[in-house]
């Protein structure tokens, strides 16, 4: 469950892009799209790398926390 939630986070960040753009919420996804439309390459790269690293970190944390919550995942 926890692992799955973390795995779906990537899709969630993608969904946030749409929601932020449609409703003009100044979030990370909106920043990426606005920068992409104006060809502001460093900002696009920065925002995409930031959110990708955040998603990876969330996955890592989920991987570390899962054995703490579920004893069956601990080895030995």
């Amino acid at each position: 469950m926890l692992t799955l939630t973390a795995a779906r986070l990537g899709a969630l960040v993608g969904g946030a892009v749409v929601v932020e753009t449609v409703f003009a919420l100044p979030g990370l996804g909106w920043l990426a799209v606005a920068a992409a439309v104006t060809r502001d390459h460093p900002v696009v790269v920065g925002s995409v790398v930031t959110s990708t690293v955040l998603v990876w970190l969330a996955n890592l944390i989920a991987g570390v926390v899962a054995p703490v919550l579920d004893p069956r995942l601990r080895d030995g």
């Binding site: 795995a7 986070l9 990537g10 993608g14 799209v33 992409a36 696009v44 995409v48 990708t52």
Partner: protein, 255 residues
């Protein structure tokens, strides 16, 4: 079973229908502006007087083409990686599967924005991106099936006869993996059919081709002038995505 077969039939009909009208918006005949839906124009005409149903069908064709290309590319790559991981040694297996996990956790849509910013809105780049990031799921499926099949007598007999791993993969494993691969490519297709419209919706699609996202974004701005300009492409997108969902759900359950 009946629902899935009907959905698949509807999807084929929709795809066939979508390939009927002229190439791009520029090629459509111009008539009276903003006509409400009627018999001559089932979805009315847009703010430049073009038949809107033809525009929506062109857009659906774009989405179908991108999704179909991604649904070929991802299973091809996924089965290649999965077979290598399943048949190769434990080190190769570990390396490929961990790489797969890293790729699987990438936010695809954000990478698509990055690609659109660097190379301009291009559907070819989008296909490569979706095909290049949606393979780990299929690779995992193929790997586990490969390992399971490798223990079966017919594969062990092939090994005993001195068949090469490539020959075993091609003659014995791939035919057995085909039904699972078909279901998995349906899942990729369902995801990809939404990716292209979403990118076009935020203004990062290919400006040369008609897209559902582009039509929805334009229609939303004009919704006070003609509700069909927003409802038409939105309904088409939901119909296509819904049919894909029903068609794949049954295939996945069957496996």
């Amino acid at each position: 079973m009946r629902a899935g077969a009907t959905a698949r039939l509807g999807l084929f009909a929709l795809a066939y229908w979508a390939f009927a009208p002229a190439d791009t918006l520029v090629d459509l005949a111009i008539g009276p502006l903003l006509v409400s839906p009627c018999l001559a124009h089932p979805l009315g005409t847009d703010d430049l007087g073009r038949d809107f149903l033809a525009a929506v069908l062109q857009a659906a064709r774009t989405a179908f083409t991108v999704a179909a290309a991604a649904a070929v590319l991802a299973p091809a790559r996924g089965s290649a990686v999965g077979l290598c991981a399943g048949l190769g040694g434990p080190i190769l297996d570990e390396a490929l599967m961990r790489t797969g996990e890293i790729v699987a956790s990438l936010p695809v849509l954000l990478l698509a924005i990055l690609v659109a910013a660097l190379f301009g809105g291009s559907n070819a780049a989008l296909v490569v991106l979706v095909g290049g990031t949606r393979w780990p799921l299929i690779a995992r499926l193929v790997r586990i099936e490969t390992i399971a099949l490798s223990a079966r007598p017919f594969v062990r007999a092939a090994v005993a006869l001195g068949a090469s791993p490539w020959g075993i993969a091609r003659r014995h494993l791939l035919p057995a993996l085909a039904p699972g691969l078909a279901a998995a490519s349906g899942i990729v297709f369902g995801g990809a059919i939404l990716t292209e419209p979403v990118l076009a919706l935020v203004g990062l699609g290919d400006p040369q081709v008609t897209s559902l996202g582009q039509l929805i974004a334009n229609g939303f701005a004009l919704v006070g002038l003609g509700w069909w300009l927003w409802l038409g492409p939105t309904a088409m997108l939901m119909l296509a995505a819904g049919l894909v969902a029903i068609a794949t759900a049954e295939r996945v359950e069957a496996n």
